[in-house]
Amino acid sequence: MLTLSARRRALLASFAALSLSAAALAAEPSVDFARDIQPILAQRCYDCHGREDNKGGLGLTSRTQGLRGGKSGLPALVPGSADKSEIYQRVISPHDDEAMPQKGDRLKPAEIALLKRWIDEGAAWPEDLKHWAYVAPVRPPVPALGRRNSAPGNPIDAFVVARLAQENLARSPEVDRPRWLRRVSLDLIGLPPTPAEVATFVADIAPGAHERVVDRLLASPHYGEKWARPWLDLARYADSHGFQRDDLRESWPYRDWVVRAMNADLPFDQFTIMQIAGDLLPGADDKKNPDPLIATGFHRAAPTNVEAGTDQEEGRVNQVIDRVNTTGTVWLGSTLECAQCHNHKYDPFSQKDYYQLFAYFNQTERETAFATARATATLAFTGPFVTLPDTANDARRAEIGLRLKKIDDDIAAATARIRADLPAWEETARAALADAPQSHALEVAEFSSSEGSPHRVLADKSVLLVDDVPDKDTYTVTVKTKLTGITGLKLEALTDRSLPGNGPGRGDAARPNFVLNTFAVTAAKAGGEAVPLKFVRTAHSFAQASFSSANLIAPGNTKGWAISPQFGRDQWVTFELPAAIGAAEGTTLVFTMAHTLGAGRSIGRFRLSAITGEVGAKAVPADVAAALRVEPAQRTAEQTDAVVAHVVAQDAKIAALRQSRTKTEQEFAKIAGPRTLVMRELAEPRMTSVLKRGNFLDPGDRVEPGTPEHLHAGPRGGNRLDLARWLVSRDNPLVARVTVNRWWQEFFGHGLVRTPEDFGVKGEAPTHPELLDWLAVELMENGWSMKRVHRLIALSATYRQSSRLTPELLARDDQNRLLARGPRFRLEAEAIRDNALAIAGLLSPKLGGPPVRPYQPPGLWDAKVGGDRVTYEMSAGEDAYRRGLYTVWKRGSPYPSFMNFDATGRGACTVRRSRSNTPLQALTLLNDPVYVEAAAALAKRVTQELPDATDDARLRHAFGLCVARPPAAVELEALRHLLAQQRAAKDDPAAWQAVASALLNLDETITKN
């Protein structure tokens, strides 16, 4: 337990980063280690002389180490004499080989001066000093203010004003009501206020008008949509796996859960526990309330490498690492990842600590598997999921289930009948069958694909294509056979579980069709030349309209053979030769099968056979014919099965039943309830070891689950649920500070700690340490209510200040660290689009549901190495105008306009997006069809809403829709001028659209002002 004075010192230390002017520093009476010196050591020395490395034998994390010095034998510190202290000599040394720091820039003169004064003053170094962030926050007293300041709004303001007073600065004046309303609307629900809302608020002169607005916004269902966005950045939530096989996956119910949880103001501690360990909560498997399971989607959102040939264990370990690091960033504001390979250099996390945390997350199953037992290179995405209750379709699903069962029963009955009737059937069929034409599966000697598609030759002599599906593909197959009397050839297109939709085509799971455009064969006798074969006719199991197999032998054929809609079952085509071929000494046949349509419409598994006997009759597989020659009693089980399978395959009734089953399955799939990815603890715990240098192939000492030694006391052992409870323990010094700090960042553009992802010694100290602690305690002591804290911030006078940047403020505090003005920042990517659509009246207010696909330029998803082919089909109707939150997030090819506005691919946890200002942003707002359409809609809206009004009234209305305030004279004049210019050459709608486009491009329109 730390003393209060230690805590005070830690708090004081946090002022260190605030060096607003040299004058302020010079006014400090004496050097304080925590405030002035430790940050220098941490920032400039600990890379080499920190907890981990002691280059030259020197560590600088305690006074004792400094007094002792390094290998040189010279003390780094000689209290009272900087000149005799090696540390000082090195930082001022002009000689490159001995000057410190060796890495990075030299110390600034002010830093050197501080160091010298500190040593000369005796190098005081309190031994019990603990970094401020690791000391649990205690609610500080709210500053009492003197008469000089006007009454602050709430405690937040007292802290801010007290800090400003120290700097002799005053708050900025209050922002006007329309601007505040727009600011708070954008901050709380991510949408601009409507003109009616502006009018109501401006007219509401009764006390409590601001409170009424904030309460209305906090109760809006759009609140959760706005606040889910930063959380989903933390959760690196996306709708695809990432990496080369960047296929889409279904996890959006997790995204919707976040929105619902925020709207319901689910206490942040519960919000945490459910996401980290909802699956381990009592009642987690209650089918009526899957929320605790859905919430665990947080950590299933880690990218998954499903690229063929990936080491699956390496992939799994990388995901666990991601989960540990993300947990550290989100709940501890700490960069644990440094401790993956070695003890953390600056912060008190050992490598052992890291792998103890790792052990908590090491208890879930691998999320990839071989696609099939045969295709051991191709991986499938697996792992636990939960199917959501979906009452709307439950009845229909039950009904289809019954139908499926009926079909299965019918097939079983028909098959049983065939077995029973077999002796009778054989009586009549045996003689004929034994002499019937036979098909002989040909052994593949060589296979090649023009696109290099890998393949497997299976035991039944069929060829299975695996891995990535090229657009078009031509197969060349060489076989050698000693058969004679070959009267025809047979190509079977077969289904396989590893193919999308079971095949036989490779293109897509919904329509696994193929189009075989050409089928050419050459034959060569041993030592002879290859001669192209001609065919007299074809027959097929099925062909789709105008894609008959006859095309394959027609002169000038281009269309070829296809099988829609009879996917999901085996198909065949036979080719009859004009005269028998084949020589006893051997014949080499080379087949060329071209699929030139594109979109992966190639055959996924096929078998080639030679037919002997009359081709016109149905050829019997050679093995069946052979079995039939054996007395039934003498047959092996395989032979009996082969005969039964053959008869079953010939049975028209069973064929019809099977096709009906495929169709019914598809019907079922269409109304399958939504699924979402979840975490599930393994039944048998997995052992965890320290991974030396972070290498999963080099395990070291075994560790048990546990929490970091230097943080608050936690469980030894246990599971993720224990970890989750530890994270939100009242004793955790970090979690509440880290959380309120991120919220503050959303309101003010920056956190009170400006390194919201790093509260460690190398992070920035808080600008307002007491305010941060006050807010953290406020959160914890009030049921972890997020809305309560948001309400406080939104209603503070600090937040109500004008954002105008005066020259004085620019000179004193251009970054607004002191909060002497209101926030002014560009909106985030999604909000820019949401805002434009709302202004235009296009935005759909629909909440939740599967990801949507608004307009994006064509072709962006089509051509990529690896993964399923998914053509980006724009969503229909209102789904094209949903909030950005719902836009499908494909990691390898995210929505381009969001990327232009600093969104990320969501491949890793992001605490703050960058906020850049680029020409591509201008081009997006000017030319992206989404914004072009928004401009047209805004123009139309204004004319429709004010049908008989003057130009000026309409211009005012349009301007107000965009920025929620009336235009100044000079602004109105600029718009009038544009309208006149445009009218000179264009019709009225086009002229108004130009005006609308200008308005949507204003800096103010895309800025929270």
Partner: protein, 476 residues
């Protein structure tokens, strides 16, 4: 001073003074304007001083996506012939991991002829006859190695220094370190032939660096840059009127609230407008001489690697700092005998033409050209039938030894660096990790890879993570 800027400065200053009602702020205001209009605006991308004198000012990076076979192109191993078709030595597979090879694979020697070229006598395969003609300009590094053996992680490793998503690529680091030399074009441009690489657009995303540093894809079909073209029915004159209005209103806002970001935005809109002219002009290669087109094998209007090579020259000519060309379909697990020659035909003339053209225009001295894949390929054949029959073999991924070449920009031409063992399996001398390559690229650009850092999530991140040594042997 640009007349627009003069005007802007004047207007802004007047309005600002009026609104703020402050005379005393005039000096500070002037500072604000100086910063915001002329410094802050381009500050994120303005040309910046390197750490030390650079040898290269620009980089053209030719990435063969999928990983070409070094054993059939640059790393000639006659000893392999003796083992052709025989099981590989036990130590090749013991404790090693491969993407696809299973069981006990067999050695495959190259089926292509090698010859010595140029004064340097560099051994290059018959598949690259044009490149062989510039053998004395290039440095062949036969000892590259990396940590990852699957495509997407290895591509990320090569470009971002880390095998998982989230970090900025070399191009972003370079523009972060050096800014841009062209006011009308992005500093970092990506060109593509064939499908998008496995790791997707993450390869040129700016990761945690501001998105101003992201690579901008220039496309050879459709709009050259997404959203570059005015919507239908909007003539350039219309656009100018809209832009002038936006500018007037933004100026008014700047005058009112004084936020330098507004000045930056004004300048970015002007840059966007200029890009609408400069990009199509750049992408139009039809005015290049017939000799130049022939040198590259480029054909106006076609989408090809050769065209992209020519575009790369046009880009660096205009001061674009980093140009990356991604060419797909080098992942030859099978059919290497036919597919590798076809791919070489796609790139050989273009890349050799690029080196020659840069040289004849005096650009090669300070333009660094890099060619290679994300890893190499095994000396063992990959037979894909799964039935033990070797049909149309190819080679599997190999991370432990492969080849890249560099030219110009302070790299010694006509040398080879590093070597592999007799069977081309392991590095025998002078290993060069991809971190070392990246350290060297930054070094040639005048950047110390240990000093080019960005603080993010509590760490000072570098392109080279905590590794990387400059390969001195490559420096001219």
């Amino acid at each position: 001073m640009h007349p627009l800027e003069a005007h802007l400065r004047d207007v802004t200053r007047r309005t600002f003074l009026k609104n703020s009602g402050l005379g005393v702020g005039a000096i500070a205001l002037n500072q604000l304007l100086a910063q915001s209009l002329f410094a802050a605006a381009p500050s994120a991308v303005a040309a910046r001083q390197p750490h030390f004198a650079p040898r290269a000012k620009r980089v053209i990076y030719l990435h063969m996506v999928g990983a070409p076979s070094q054993l059939d192109l640059f790393d000639y191993k006659p000893a392999l012939a003796a083992y052709d078709g025989k099981p590989c030595p036990e130590e090749f597979i013991k404790g090693k991991r491969f993407a696809f090879l299973r069981g006990h694979p067999r050695i495959a020697s190259t089926k292509f002829t090698f010859a010595r070229h140029g004064k340097s006598g560099a051994e290059i395969s018959e598949l690259l006859p044009n490149l062989a003609g510039v053998a004395d300009e290039i440095a062949i590094v036969r000892s590259l190695h990396t940590d990852e053996f699957n495509h997407a992680p290895a591509q990320l490793m090569l470009h971002t220094g880390f095998g998982r998503p989230g970090r900025p690529g070399a191009g972003s680091w370079v523009t972060y370190g050096l800014g841009s030399e062209n006011a009308d074009l992005p500093a970092y441009v990506v060109l593509q032939s064939g499908p998008l690489a496995g790791a997707g657009t993450q390869l040129w995303s700016s990761g945690f660096l501001p998105s101003v540093h992201q690579g901008v894809q220039f496309r050879t079909s459709g709009e050259p840059v997404l959203f570059l073209e005015n919507p239908k029915g909007v003539a350039p004159a219309d656009r100018r009127q809209v832009l002038d209005t936006v500018r007037r209103l933004n100026e008014a806002q700047l005058a009112d609230v004084g936020d330098p970001e507004i000045a930056t935005r004004i300048s970015q809109y002007e840059l966007a407008f200029r890009m609408q002219t400069s990009v199509p002009e750049l992408m139009d290669i039809s005015k290049e001489s017939p000799e130049t087109l022939a040198l590259y094998g480029a054909e106006p209007g076609k989408a090809s690697f050769a065209n992209n090579c020519l575009l790369a020259r046009r880009l660096v000519e205009r001061g674009v700092r980093m140009v990356q060309l991604y060419d797909a379909d080098w992942d030859h697990h099978n059919n290497i005998a036919t597919r590798l020659p076809a791919k070489c035909k796609d790139v050989d003339r273009g890349m050799a033409g690029l080196v020659r053209d840069l040289k004849q225009r005096g650009l090669l001295d300070d333009t660094l050209v890099i060619w290679g894949g994300e890893f190499g390929r095994t000396p063992m054949a990959q037979n894909d039938t799964g039935a033990g029959v070797s049909t149309s073999p190819g080679r599997d991924h190999h991370k432990d030894a492969y080849t890249m070449w560099l030219a110009g920009g302070g790299v010694k031409g006509g040398i080879s660096h590093g070597a592999t063992d007799d069977l081309g399996y392991a590095i025998a001398e002078n290993p060069v990790h991809v971190h070392d390559l990246n350290a060297t690229v930054l070094h040639l650009l005048g950047l110390d890879h240990e000093r080019l850092t960005f603080r993010y999530q509590g760490r000072d991140y570098r392109l080279t993570d905590v590794h990387g040594k400059v390969v001195k042997g490559l420096l001219a």
